[in-house]
Amino acid sequence: MTKVFAFTVNGKPVNVSLDNEDTPLLDVLRNELGLVGTRFGCGLEQCGCCMVLIDGAPEKCCAKPAWSVEGKQVITVEGLGDAENPHPLQQAFLEEQAGQCGYCLAGILISAKALLDRNSKPSRTEIAQALDDNICRCGSHNRIVRAVQKAAAVIRAGAGR
């Protein structure tokens, strides 16, 4: 039986009709809403490619049923910024060339956003620990950590969000 779920994605209210209410949020984002920035990595909540913010908390959404976000606010990488108006994290990732294949980056940006929201001046160790839920297989870790530090400084200086 079709059920309709209402929540917000990147500030916009959405209504999604699903025959299967266990449909993972990731599938809803990618296949129903066309928001492909959040990537599928494992479907097991292990790799962090699918990290989104749910009411501000970083959560993996590849196995999270859509019904569980009813009434909640979901932020995806598309909600951080775009080429015209990049988030300081996105800007810093580009400046540091923090990535190789880039498949993990959307999830990492979300984890980093969650970190900076609660800690405006994280140390290298704190950043690394906050990103331990995200796997990067290419070995861009140090660039990513540098980019997060840089974005934190930009945000602290009041130049960004």
Partner: protein
């Protein structure tokens, strides 16, 4: 006389295979090399911008496309810039020369009076009103490259040698459609394959009802022999059905790898094809001091962050395939053979995937999509492997045993070196005769390919970097090519280079210790090649290497060196770490000589990536078997985490007058060996088996 054309240009001599002028102000550069996260598209754009004298923004790169792009085989072996880039550079220089000829003809002047700035023609510094696009109608690029176009001198390079920003990164950072996984075709259906566990396994029973119940949405079964797939409009339903089918489809003739087969030592008992290279055996004085040690490394997974994906559409007798594989032309040939189609009726497009680091499931996923598409004409098929499927069915890099025997002179320096290797093949790519996984499940499956490995002329597979670059009078390689393996094996970053460099560079440290010499000094004393010496000296200076630091304290420092394939980049690595029950990496220094560097930051990124990935292999990774592949997710196959990654310092030696040398794989071997040597220094005991697990550390401590 012109220099001989670089290999890929010889293979694809027509200039219109490399450069096109599609619209005013626009240039399309074609390359057979594909983006795997290594930044190759950016580097190719830099090369073309310099040789065509245009702003880099004018260039669009089209890569990996059997309709248009040159056939450069595989994007592999750190050869893209060293060969493909050199070829593109010459092609662009030849194109530029043709336009200069045409402009001189049109303007009635001498070519020497002309110059090009951002695509516009100037005569003695004055604008002529002509540009590439006004002239392009009169210039036939369907001609063969001659190599007569003069390439820019190093002093005139504007883009090559600068750290241009990666062209592909913004889409990935802004979460745009960037990967094959994001591709959506009109009317597309999703698919999952119920994988045949091994060659010869046959479907026993299929509990269709149970699978349909698990799907919670409409699905359809597609079967051809023992190739079974599930398709449907709703990906969630298809995925759930795919997961469920693992339990609800039974197979006969299953051969599941056992734990006893997972260690490299298992290979010692297996049938082999004998191969030998280098100096003949014997003829050495019997009274020489001998050194012998055996090293092993288990099976590794590529463990790409995203499972493989492929799309295919069969319509009007033509098959179109979208893939993230490393070689669209070899895939096309393999698909033609498997599906009994003419290659000319198949188009293969490369679309970016996640980093692959070698032969992962990409080709097989493309074949899966193609097989299903052939049964569903007119319907675009998208398959995405499941995570578990990728881990279990991707080709593994083979386990290896490497035994080093050295005879020493009176100063403790090696005069005779034998590197004896037991290893299955490192190349079962479709282009090397390997079968596409789905094809093996079809009726009348293709035979198993004959035992083979990468030819020595291409750098060897299991033998890669088995010959030390050091000055040693007699060197030989004995390769026991193991022909029976518990799992399919194929290429992973560096092939045999990592285990070989690990073995030989650990031996060099042992020999230095035996001779009472400092590892850096000992290496320099047997190194003639000035570029090799330079990276060793440089990295020692970077790390402030102190000869004679006491070992056995729990803190260790190690060095190692290699020139990848003994013909690509040179790299030396120093690692600082500490060991208690586990190994903690603190800092890594790396000095590399890659000749003319197209994009220094891109090279640094590749070197860093190689260091981190190698550290992950050495500290954590081994594919385990237990009634099948027991490493099937990120918990059973853990890789290095952010908090475990050391700080890394990279320096490139300035040798821009030298030819560019491939860097993608060079740090893997030296990093592994530098970690091995640092652990030995920290413990005062040598561990010769990879990965360097806690159990092995404890065992080494107990031995001491």
């Amino acid at each position: 006389m012109n220099a001989p054309l670089a290999g890929p240009l010889n293979d694809n001599p027509n200039l219109d295979r490399w450069v096109a002028f599609p619209a005013p102000g626009k240039i399309t550069v074609l390359t057979g090399r594909v983006e795997l996260g290594q930044g190759v598209l950016t580097a190719m754009a830099q090369i073309a911008a310099d040789e065509l004298d245009v702003a880099i923004e004018r260039i669009t790169i089209r890569s990996g496309d059997t309709e248009k792009a040159p056939n450069e085989g595989y994007t592999a072996g750190s050869m893209s810039i060293q060969f493909g880039g050199v070829a593109l550079r010459q092609a662009c220089a030849d194109v530029r020369a043709l336009f200069l000829d045409q402009a001189a003809k049109a303007l009635g002047c001498n070519v020497t009076e002309l110059s090009i700035r951002d695509g516009r023609l100037f005569r003695s510094g004055t604008s002529t009103g002509q540009d590439y696009w006004t002239l392009s109608g009169a210039v036939d690029l369907g001609v063969k490259a001659t190599g007569r176009g003069e390439r820019k001198s190093v002093a005139d390079l504007q883009n090559i040698g600068t750290s241009s920003a990666r062209v592909d990164l913004p889409a990935k950072v802004f979460g745009e459609s960037a990967f094959i996984h994001d591709l959506r075709l009109e009317g597309m259906v999703h698919a999952r394959v119920v994988r045949q566990p091994n060659r010869g396994a046959t479907i026993g029973s299929i509990d269709e009802n149970a699978i349909r119940r698990a799907a919670k949405g409409p699905i359809e079964f597609v079967r051809n022999g023992n190739f079974l797939a599930i398709i449907g409009d709703n990906e969630t339903a298809v995925e759930a059905a795919g997961v469920s089918a693992v339990k609800h489809v039974s197979w006969q003739n299953v051969e599941a790898p056992a734990p006893t087969q997972q260690e490299a030592s298992w290979l010692l008992q297996k049938p082999v094809v004998e191969r030998a290279f280098g100096a003949p055996e014997g003829g050495n004085p019997q009274n020489r001091e001998r050194y012998e040690a055996t090293y092993t490394r288990g099976y590794l997974a590529h463990a790409s962050i995203s499972p493989s994906c492929g799309l295919a559409l069969y319509r009007d007798g033509r098959l179109t395939v979208w893939t993230h594989c490393q070689g669209v032309y070899p895939l096309r040939a393999a698909l033609a053979k498997a599906l009994k189609l003419e290659p000319s009726s198949i188009i293969v497009h490369h679309v970016q995937g996640s980093g692959c680091y070698g032969h992962n499931g990409a080709d097989d996923a493309a074949a899966d999509a193609a097989i299903i598409a052939m049964q569903k004409p007119g319907q675009p098929i998208r398959i995405r492997w499941r995570r578990e499927e990728e881990f279990i069915y991707e080709p593994k890099t083979p386990a290896m045993v490497v035994k080093v025997r050295a005879l020493l002179d009176d100063d403790g320096k090696p005069v005779d070196w034998t590197q004896e290797i037991w290893s299955p093949t490192h190349n079962l790519r479709p282009g090397a005769g390997g079968n596409l996984l789905g094809a093996i499940a079809l009726p009348n499956p293709p035979p198993e390919p004959p035992p083979n490995d990468v030819p020595e002329a291409n750098g060897g597979g299991a033998t890669r970097n088995a010959e030390p670059l050091y000055h040693i009078a007699a060197k030989r390689i004995l390769h026991h090519l193991v022909t029976e393996t518990p799992v399919r094996t194929s290429a992973l970053r560096g092939l045999g280079a990592m285990p070989n460099v690990f073995a030989l560079e650990c031996c060099i440290d042992d020999l230095a210790q035996r001779a009472g010499q400092d590892p850096v000094q000992y290496r320099l004393s047997i190194t003639a090649d000035p570029r090799a010496r330079a990276v060793i000296e440089k990295v020692a200076a970077m790390a402030k290497w102190d000869a004679g630091t006491a070992g056995g304290t729990g803190r260790g420092r190690g060095i190692a060196f290699a020139r990848y394939k003994n013909r690509a980049a040179y790299s030396a690595v120093i690692v600082d770490l500490s060991v208690d029950e586990e190994i903690r990496l603190h800092r890594v220094w790396c000095a590399t000589d890659a000749g003319l560097v197209v994009n220094p930051d891109g090279v640094a990124n590749q070197l860093e990536g190689g260091i981190i990935q190698s550290a992950s292999w050495v500290l954590k990774e081994q594919v385990r078997f237990d009634n099948g592949v027991a490493s099937f997710d990120w918990e059973t196959y853990p890789v290095l985490k952010f908090s475990e990654v050391p700080e890394i310092e990279i320096e490139l030696i300035n040798t821009k007058d030298e030819a560019p040398l491939g860097v993608g794989e060079v740090t893997a071997g030296p990093t592994a060996a530098a970690i091995g040597n640092a652990v030995s220094h920290a413990l005062g005991a040598r561990i010769r088996d990879l990965p360097l697990t806690r159990e092995r550390i404890m065992a080494a401590l107990l031995r001491e």
